[in-house]
Amino acid sequence: AQSVTQLDSHVSVSEGTPVLLRCNYSSSYSPSLFWYVQHPNKGLQLLLKYTSAATLVKGINGFEAEFKKSETSFHLTKPSAHMSDAAEYFCVVSHSNFGNEKLTFGTGTRLTIIP
């Protein structure tokens, strides 16, 4: 069984300050991990993915995440928040079975940016 736990349901940061969104995972296999973002009334957009290559993964819009096996964590960071980063962020673990991929989502973290 696989699961992800997003430790904060809501994070508020001031514009220009660092962002940290926390995620811990549980997986019986070597996991594939993702961060997706959902802006209001929009679909789910892939920010970045980890698939057992480099442990530090760079994504779009200046976001990055570090896979730490010893801590079973995959936290999302950004050095400097922008107003356009306000959205819901989902940590996701993937399980593939004969090519079919099934995603398990976390409960989401709503990021608010304070001007």
Binding site: S32, F34, Y36, N41, K42, G43, L44, Q45, L46, K49, T51, F90, S96, N97, F98, G99, N100, E101, K102, L103, T104, F105, G106, T107, G108
Partner: protein
């Protein structure tokens, strides 16, 4: 960049009515999925579809649900007799291949409201 498109963006229906949610996956993709998100809850896997048949389905995907790829471009989710608890955002997704690391691409979703 190619996108997954979903129609309608919002559907209101009465309890007991049939609804069909429509999706046009990215044209060279082979794997198709439906996920749903009840307001305030996690995004949940419903069903995956490959080679004109269901690959995997969740326990949510009971006999009231069906999927179909009626032609070379559309992928539909039918709910035969809607219940109040079917009210949710339904996301369609597609993936190019099963064995590579390409991610799932999601549509913007259809918000289904059952009254």
């Amino acid at each position: 960049e190619p996108e997954v498109t979903q129609t309608p963006s919002h559907q209101v229906t009465q309890m007991g009515q049939e609804v069909i949610l429509r999706c046009v996956p990215i044209s060279n993709h082979l794997y198709f999925y439906w996920y749903r998100q009840i307001l305030g809850q996690k995004v949940e896997f419903l069903v995956s579809f490959y080679n004109n048949e269901i690959s995997e389905k969740s326990e949510i995907f009971d006999d009231q649900f069906s999927v179909e790829r009626p032609d070379g471009s559309n992928f539909t989710l039918k709910i035969r007799s809607t219940k109040l608890e079917d009210s949710a955002m339904y996301f369609c997704a597609s993936k190019r291949q099963g064995t590579d690391n390409s991610p799932l691409h999601f549509g913007n979703g259809t918000r289904l409201t059952v009254t």
